[in-house]
């Protein structure tokens, strides 16, 4: 019985989320455009997560290289470390780790911010002040997350690879130019483009879920905490699901 209820609420919630996405799409191209707010959000969202994403990216690259090293030596392919690392970072680890960190940092803050705006009637106040709060708050944030995450993911890739370069040089010795030439020679269009495109979807997921959870927050401070929390959980799961879909689609399209 309780499972039936759980299943029902799952489908209800999914339906509501899709309706929210539909509302976003409808509002998205109708004027008035909140350009100033969009740029402000880009700055806030991009800038806020930069240090964290840089740091995690750097550590990922460094650690991955050091972990791979013994096995690569065992198989006698030590010289191929940069290539293996580059492919795993660019194709998978960079986009996904960046998106997850982004969900934790930005998804939760959007959920909490809009949630507290909702429960303290700030969203209503905007509406009576000649502003469409959905455009002003939701559309600007979702567009900002969608456009900022790919940029952050690219930066994270670059910093990770730099970490990998340092990792290679802890025990071995590779020149800076050799390292990068090796990477750029091995990476192809098929490695970079699908990975880049999927980060747009990750960014959209983080933004729309954070906004949905915040915008529909329950009354009380507890409701705000819940919104922030479920925004992170749901968008993290969604990132993995989208990742799974992305690999199937690129496979079908023959981008390997």
């Amino acid at each position: 019985m309780s499972q039936a209820i759980l299943l029902k609420s799952f489908f209800e919630e999914t339906g509501k989320t899709f309706r929210f996405i539909l509302r976003f799409l409808l509002q998205w191209f109708k004027p008035r455009y909140e350009v100033a707010e969009f740029f402000r959000q880009c700055y806030v969202i991009g800038y806020k997560s930069l240090p964290l994403i840089g740091l995690t990216g750097f550590i990922m690259g460094l650690v991955l290289t050091m972990q791979l090293r013994p096995t690569m030596i065992e198989y006698g392919v030590e010289s191929q470390i940069p290539i293996i690392v580059a492919i795993s970072i660019v194709r998978e680890i960079g986009p996904v780790i960046t998106a997850l960190i982004f969900a934790g940092k930005i998804g939760s803050s959007i959920g909490a911010e809009l949630g507290s705006m909702k429960v303290t009637e700030q969203i209503d106040a905007m509406e009576v002040s000649g502003t469409n709060p959905f455009k002003y708050l939701v559309v600007s944030r979702v567009m900002a997350t969608t456009l900022m995450l790919p940029i952050l993911a690219l930066l994270s890739d670059a910093i990770s690879l730099y970490g990998a370069y340092l990792g290679v040089n802890i025990k071995g010795d590779t020149s800076f130019t050799l390292f990068w030439t090796q990477i750029f020679d091995s990476l192809s269009f098929n490695d970079v483009l699908p990975a880049f495109i999927k980060t747009y979807f990750f960014g959209f997921a983080v933004g729309i879920i954070g906004c949905y959870k915040g915008y529909n927050s329950n009354k009380g401070t507890e409701g705000v905490g819940k919104s922030a929390n479920s925004a992170v959980v749901l968008s993290s799961i969604l990132i993995f699901i989208l990742d799974l879909l992305a690999v199937q689609i690129t496979d079908l399209l023959g981008f390997n």
């Binding site: 705006m117 303290t120 009637e121 700030q122 209503d124 106040a125 009576v128 002040s129 000649g130 502003t131």
Partner: protein
């Protein structure tokens, strides 16, 4: 008062307003008239639908049935621009103040000026902000964040933001709830001063008897979704109906 009511048209006229959420019937055939320069208090218990009523009047909630005429325009029939024009003339003081946390006091006050359909130049904006803050006696807080202010000050700033467009009607949602009695009285005095200065009509939602006694020209009791009783403060204190009496004990 009576005479004036008869010769002028109401600025807000609500007829047979009904609103429910699922099976929860909140308002049922509710009627109310608010006249020019009148302070009308709607009295009702917590959860009786007072906020729902006031949110229907400003178009934040859509009624299921009935008409809400504000300045002779029926709200449910209006498009976005027409609604915006009405909203510029109707101020709303939210129960939780609804100050924007991420903005300074100045930005909070500028927000309605910059966003409504009427455009103001920079000089006018400055002047209106200063004037509204002076009306509530808080000009010195102009560069502060809402989180740095006390509860009473936040209420005053919220009131200043409501006043900034020089509305003809102000809707107050429980203006004294959550404040200590002394601060509450100051807010009521401020509301009365504002009425004198600008000649606004006010619909005040409350269950604070101090507020009712000091500010009300007329009182409407909201009970079970209906307008249960109405009259002046003195008239209602003499009413022996237990549902009316409970407020005046």
């Amino acid at each position: 008062m009576k005479l004036e009511e008869n010769i002028t048209l109401p600025v807000i006229a609500i007829n047979n307003l009904s609103k429910s959420f699922g099976s929860n019937i909140v308002l049922k055939d509710f009627n109310l008239n608010l006249y020019k320069k009148q302070n009308l208090v709607v009295l009702g218990k917590s959860g009786s639908g007072k906020s729902v009523l006031i949110k229907c009047i400003i178009g934040l909630l859509k009624p299921d049935k009935g008409s809400i005429e504000v300045f002779d325009k029926n709200l449910p029939d209006l498009n976005d621009l027409e609604l915006d024009k009405i909203r510029a003339k109707v101020g709303f003081l939210f129960q939780s103040n609804a100050l924007y946390d991420s903005m300074t006091v100045r930005e909070n006050l500028e927000f309605p000026l910059r966003r409504h359909w009427i455009k103001h130049n920079q000089g006018e904006v400055e002047q209106l902000v200063t004037e509204a803050l002076n009306d509530v006696g808080l000009l010195h807080t102009i560069e502060m964040m809402p989180s740095e202010l006390s509860g009473g000050m936040r209420k005053r700033i919220a009131l200043a933001r409501t006043l900034i467009l020089k509305p003809d009607i102000i809707l107050y949602d429980e203006p004294t709830t959550g404040l200590d009695p002394i601060t509450g009285k100051e807010i009521i005095k401020l509301m009365i001063d504002i009425k004198k200065k600008y000649g606004t009509a006010a619909l005040i939602i409350s269950h604070d008897m101090n507020c009712v006694k000091m500010a009300a020209d007329k009182i409407v009791i909201l009970y079970e979704g209906k307008c249960y009783a109405e009259g002046t403060y003195n008239e209602l204190t003499e009413n022996n109906d237990p549902n009316v009496k409970q407020f005046f004990e």
